[in-house]
Symmetry: C2
Subunit: 351 residues, 2 copies
């Protein structure tokens, strides 16, 4: 459960993760400090580098306390090895959550390492078998939460049900929806479709306390159509679907760029339509959706894209702050307590 505020720090921030750290992280904190003037941040990393960088960022300087970490978890390090690096910036940031100093942590570093460390150090909520990675993404009808995005490549029916409960709590707390609709990703919308795993999870959800919000099976195209507020799937499918959708949008953007430079009249057309196209670009800006959330832990853990910039990193901090201030984990806890579900059936695991 999230410790009752005020803690010493709202969030701990891993200053050394991501492609352009620590500069990008501190620029992000400079933005975040303005947006969250009451919040205090614990910034963890190489003190000798951080102190002079903070000195020239007045808002961040005021909001941040530096904690020295001599080591860094490299982006390509295996999670099992990362667990042994006891004095990395990522580890010490996560440690501060477990120690009750900060309510959550944000890192743009190695995803696998962050998940492994968070599970072991921060630990899962009671009744949660496996944490899940969630993100908010745009759809034709507003923001959609999707999970799992890759924390669990093999999931059984019980895991999927837990993801639905966590997604429901997340949509209530962070998106502010009074009754989120929840869909289970499948190869068709009819009840008979899919494998035992998804059919069994659907049966349990139809009998659960979130039954009134359970929409049933959805298909890939329902994600961007906004058919539901919460898309539930296993980590393998979710990871592939997320990246496939991003890839399709990138293809379209690249083709449009070619189109608008293909002739003089197309270039003029671009100039005329530019203000409207810019609004579209802002709406789809991946930085607006930066910040994947590891759900199901005794604390808020948010993963920023490694390749993001200060704007994107500041958004990841926004997501974490939202979860901290809305008592998100308490809601998950309530949701699970109300769930009556048979014991985990491991025979239907998709391994």
């Amino acid at each position: 459960m999230v410790k009752s505020l005020p803690l010493a720090f709202a969030l701990a921030v891993d200053a050394m993760g991501g492609d352009n750290s620590p500069d990008m992280v501190l620029d992000g904190l400079e933005i975040a400090a303005e947006r969250h003037p009451q919040a205090k941040f614990l910034v963890v990393g190489d003190e000798a580098r951080l102190v002079p960088l903070l000195a020239v960022r007045p808002r961040a300087l005021k909001a941040c306390t530096v904690r020295h970490a001599p080591d860094v978890v490299p982006g390509d390090m295996k999670p099992t090895l990362a667990l042994r690096v006891r004095r990395s910036s990522m580890r010490l940031a996560i440690d501060s959550v477990a120690a009750g100093e900060a309510a959550g942590v944000v890192s743009a570093g190695n995803t696998g390492a962050l998940m492994a460390l968070a599970k072991i150090v921060v630990k899962t909520l009671p009744d949660i078998n496996r944490p899940a990675l969630a993100a908010i993404m745009p759809s034709a009808r507003g923001d959609v939460v999707m999970l799992d995005l890759g924390a669990n490549v093999a999931c059984d029916a019980r895991n999927l049900v837990e993801f639905a409960i966590m997604g429901d709590a997340f949509a209530r707390a962070v998106l502010g929806l009074p009754q989120p609709s929840i869909g289970l990703l499948n190869v068709g919308s009819e009840d008979m479709k899919g494998d035992d795993r998804v059919r069994q999870a659907a049966e349990v959800l139809r009998e659960s306390h979130i039954a009134s919000g359970f929409h049933g099976f959805i298909e890939g195209h329902d994600i961007t159509a906004g058919t539901v507020d919460v898309v539930v799937t296993d980590g393998f499918t979710g990871n592939v679907a997320l990246k496939t959708g991003e890839g399709a949008l990138k293809l379209m953007r690249d083709m449009l760029r070619q189109v608008f430079s293909s002739s003089l009249s197309a270039k003029m057309g671009y100039l005329l339509a530019r203000p409207a196209l810019e609004r579209l670009r802002e709406w789809m800006d991946p930085r607006r959706y930066n910040g994947a959330i590891l759900l199901g832990l005794n604390g808020v853990v948010v993963k920023s894209h490694g390749g993001t910039d200060a704007t994107g990193f500041a958004h990841a901090i926004d997501v974490a702050m939202d979860m901290v201030t809305h008592g998100f984990n308490d809601r998950i806890h309530e949701g699970l307590a109300r769930l009556s579900m048979p014991q985990p059936d491991l025979t239907s695991a998709r391994t």
Copy 2:
């Protein structure tokens, strides 16, 4: 194996499948008859409806022979029930392939029923455990083949290896690539990523006769980036990825439509850029990519989208004609004969 041409008919066509059948199908045949002037088609369906419709389509009339089928497989009928409808247009069209009258069949009807009927009536190639559903799709670097798109929701490593071999043969025969590159869809590109199933399949492929074309693991965004020519995955993931990508493109198209009607200057911009935008629209036209292919059978079986129009249906016929004339199944057969692989390991099935 495809029976040596000439057979009585190049293709049998299910005239009654799809949303706007039989008119849409016959309009498609009118286009196809012009493109394939040597081909004879067996058109199966309600004779009383088909004969007058053909009478007003002169090219189709010349190329087609009508065979009466009193029944139709409804779009929502379960495959197990569809197997019992012995005189449906779909069944009689497939029967003609098994009987050696036609080299292949095209239907816009019930996908599950088509797959079930094709497996039982046309039968799988020797050494193929499970047929797969494949399609061609656009990428930044040209056309890409992806399989399985939903024929098998649970796949083991052996199935994935078979899909790779079939995809390789397909890319050689239909896309005309001398050495297609093949990628296995996963949650990351590093060797350690994913589950046992994909890691085991990758190991076998690295030692196989298509090892030189095997690119290794790819991620969702690699599909539209065109990183490889052939994308191999299980039917659950492939189905979701395909529909997610389509959904993302549809979202972008809808947003662009809004953008270009949002102001007078945006409307003028659209008019100026229109010729270039039209080329993009043609390039991405889903009708150009209509026609999913059921690979691994003793005959060519192509599924058209149910909601397509005559142009799309004609394209599905093109795909089937390509496979018939390029002796595609002979190539799969050769590929499998060269494969040395351990017996199917069912412990790694993803059920």
